[in-house]
């Protein structure tokens, strides 16, 4: 397929032209600013070549916040278009592109990076380790995610965005019905980002299983670490399925194969099947770390040990196993018949049970606790009833026969937003408010936090609750408009108003980040919440080697135990200090990002010879890594003493 040079830049739409100019100006502006401030060296040494899990985590979080903004604008555009019947704000083609990019960005480039970012920052600290098992691979993971995100994001100005939904069903997603490069972006950008995520999965499973500090048996791990472990297990076994599905899509679109295209005997449903075999574990990949974060936060701010530790673990293991046997519930209506549908109805209803157990455990944790209504806790409290609404509507959808009525209506859309937003987004925000002091040495402002919380929470419910009723009345998803006769008008309008409040809530968060960076008090405790787990037994922000001496753990809630019953464990024994071995920085992960980005771009435009040359450089990069025998460096004891005295002196 020949893509003409003249067609590369998307033309003809003032909004898109504005964006193209805006993006170009911002990029030039950023380059000029960094040069003017003479920060290139700093950026390269401290961030671009870092292999430090804490820095990598922060970079993931920055990407997530930026992507939340982009995905949110997509959402607002959809709400604007559907605010009244027959609106002409977005035509059907653009509306399709907007809901496609909204979905892909929110799940794969917002939720995943935010959670992986928080896991990156916190997990090694929670297990008393100095970094992850494979620090350079960790950096590569981030940079591949970044390459995928950037590639996906330029689609709307260069070549055209994908427009077949975030699920990209065939035959619409195939070459016959969607020629052009839009869906190529989907296949290639997600493939690159997915590779990075798979590497993260391997990294964290090895880290958690093999690098826990002395005394921390599996049954003494914090709950966030447990959920991170199972999440990364799910990543390892689910993402290869996506790799194959996207590869087969690439072959069908670019090399004339017939996996999903009916001519030649292909089967479009095979795509659905493979996509959801990945897609369902994916939603548990995003929700499990969220559950872990809520466990930490609820326990800290109720000032009680988490209730039912063992049943929590059994629940998350159960969720991890069951998540692989429910996938057909996403396409009950495609014709697998009553036997298949019934089996999957049962497994789907079953998977609600362990989550129910967890909800009760959180409630019992709070019972007879002394609750502190910090912003992080408010998010956790709001999560419980709102997520439950999402959960029980999920059980409604689980019944295959009933699903024939709900499928692909706004009822479904409301359901998944009610599990994804309270489940994942509230957790991410709670995690931000909770761990911000540890990451940056200052806290997010609590007053602004409460405005953020209330606006977002009220806005969210106002946006999505009407959609349950719209769906029951017959409003379908992915439809760019509706008629006045349908009677959908008032509820759609209410939902649109809700989305403005929701957006205001997010704006307050962004303002809070800015305000706190400028004005917040830097002279705060390293343990501002009087918390329970090891990550709080460090400086704020954390010293680069994490722990001068690897802590020894005797119980669950190890840090709490040290503070209350074993204060001697908190004291640094300077004469026992040894040199600390640290890995060296590396520019290779970033270079691989550029290579993958270039190869991906060439693939998107089907310039195969160029793509092959760029792909050859990938192998060169791998060989460079293979021949790299750098063993890192050692931090001298005197330097460690200086750093330790500085932060402990504050105590």
């Amino acid at each position: 397929m020949d893509i003409k040079w003249s067609e590369i830049l998307v033309k003809g739409d003032p909004l898109i032209l504005g964006s193209q100019i805006g993006i170009a100006l911002t990029m030039i502006g950023a380059l000029v600013l960094i040069t003017y401030l003479k920060k290139w060296r700093y950026l390269w040494d401290e961030w671009i070549t870092t292999v430090d899990h804490k820095r990598i985590g922060i970079m993931y979080i920055i990407v997530a916040v930026l992507m939340f903004f982009r995905g949110g604008i997509d959402g607002l555009m959809m709400k604007t278009q559907t605010a009244a019947p027959d609106m002409k704000f977005l035509d059907a083609q653009h509306y399709d592109e907007v809901f496609t990019t909204h979905g892909v960005i929110m799940i794969l480039f917002m939720a995943m990076p935010a959670l992986i970012g928080l896991m990156n920052v916190i997990i090694p600290l929670q297990i008393g380790a100095r970094d992850v098992a494979f620090p350079q691979l960790n950096a590569l993971s981030f940079w591949l995610t970044f390459a995928g995100a950037m590639l996906f994001n330029i689609s709307f100005v260069v070549g055209g965005s994908p427009d077949a939904g975030w699920t990209s069903y065939f035959p619409l997603a195939g070459k016959e019905f969607t020629p052009g490069v839009g869906n190529n972006y989907y296949a290639i950008a997600l493939q690159i980002a997915g590779a990075g995520t798979l590497m993260t999965g391997i990294n964290f499973v090895v880290t958690i299983l093999k690098m826990r500090t002395k005394g921390m048996t599996l049954m003494k791990m914090p709950m966030f670490t447990w959920t991170a472990l199972l999440t990364n297990v799910l990543i390892i076994f689910a993402f290869p399925i996506l790799t194959v599905a996207l590869a087969l899509m690439t072959f069908d679109r670019m090399f004339g194969t017939h996996f999903f295209t009916v001519s030649g005997g292909g089967n479009a449903m095979l795509w659905n099947n493979l996509f959801w075999l990945w897609g369902h574990p994916e939603v548990y990949i995003v929700v499990l770390p969220a559950f872990g974060m809520f466990s930490e936060i609820i326990s800290t701010f109720a000032r009680k040990t988490l209730y039912g530790y063992k049943s929590m673990i059994i629940s998350i293991v159960g969720i991890a196993i069951l998540s692989f046997v429910v996938w057909v519930h996403h396409f009950y209506t495609m014709g697998s018949g009553p036997v298949v549908n019934s089996v999957f109805s049962i497994t789907t209803m079953l998977i609600a049970v362990p989550t129910g157990v967890k909800i009760f455990n959180w409630l019992f944790t709070m019972r007879k606790g002394r609750i502190q209504f910090t912003t992080a806790m408010l998010w956790s409290l709001a999560f419980i009833p709102t997520f439950t609404i999402g959960g029980v509507t999920g059980v409604m959808l689980a019944m295959a026969a009933a699903d024939y009525q709900y499928h692909n209506t706004l009822f479904l859309v409301a359901h998944f937003h009610y599990v994804l937003i309270p489940g994942v987004v509230y957790a991410v925000f709670a995690g931000f408010y909770y761990w911000w002091p540890k990451m940056f040495g200052h806290a997010l402002n609590e007053r602004l936090g409460k405005w953020n919380f209330w606006l977002f929470n009220i806005g969210f419910n106002l946006t999505f609750m009407p959609m349950f009723f719209l769906g029951l009345k017959g409003a379908v998803r992915r439809s760019y408009t509706f008629s006045a006769e349908s009677g959908f008008g008032p509820l759609f309008a209410l939902s649109a108003v809700g989305s403005l409040i929701l957006a205001a809530g997010f704006a307050v968060l962004v303002y809070n980040i800015y305000w706190s960076a400028r004005y917040a008090d830097r002279n705060i405790s390293t343990d501002p919440w009087d918390a329970r787990t090891l990550e709080w037994h460090t400086a704020s922000p954390v010293q680069f080697y994490n722990f001068a001496q690897l802590p020894e753990v005797k119980t669950l809630d190890a840090f709490w135990h040290m503070k209350k019953k074993d204060k001697d464990a908190l004291v640094l024994k300077e004469d026992e200090l040894e040199e600390i071995h640290m890995p060296s920085n590396s520019g290779l992960p970033f270079i691989m990002c550029v290579i993958f980005g270039a190869a991906g771009f060439f693939m998107v435009f089907e310039w195969i010879p160029l793509a092959a040359i760029a792909a050859a450089f990938i192998f060169v990069g791998l060989l460079v890594r293979s021949f790299d025998y750098d063993e890192g460096y050692h931090v001298k004891v005197d330097d460690v003493k200086k750093i330790e005295r500085a932060w402990r002196g504050e105590k």
Binding site: L209, V233, F237, N267, L270, M334, G335, V340
Partner: protein, 99 residues
């Protein structure tokens, strides 16, 4: 499990010979019997699994290093593999889907 430093690689040679035998047994079941298709598939499928396990233990030293965790990992991988492969085929050949 043989010592990691045995004087003759008996484990490997045994594994190799049995693998060859299993391979020829598979060909035999397919080419030289008159059993129904489904029966043959179960036989050669089982032979394949046996040979795979044999090679995992005899060639790949599955039990060394983090043996226990490695085994759990492989078991879970096989569980997922069966769900993916058998599940897909079941879903795709049921009901109206299958043409």
């Amino acid at each position: 499990m043989a010592k990691h430093n045995s004087s003759f690689p008996t484990g490997h040679v045994a594994g190799f010979i049995v693998s060859i035998l299993l391979t020829f047994a598979t060909v035999g079941a397919v080419r030289y019997t008159d059993l129904p298709f489904v029966t043959v598939m179960w036989i050669i499928g089982s032979l394949a699994v046996i040979q795979a396990l044999l090679q995992l233990f005899m060639f790949m030293h599955l039990t060394e290093g983090e043996g226990k965790m490695q085994m759990i990992n492989i078991i879970y991988a096989f569980f997922c593999a069966i769900v993916v492969a058998a599940g897909t085929i079941w879903v795709m050949t049921s009901g109206h889907v299958h043409y």
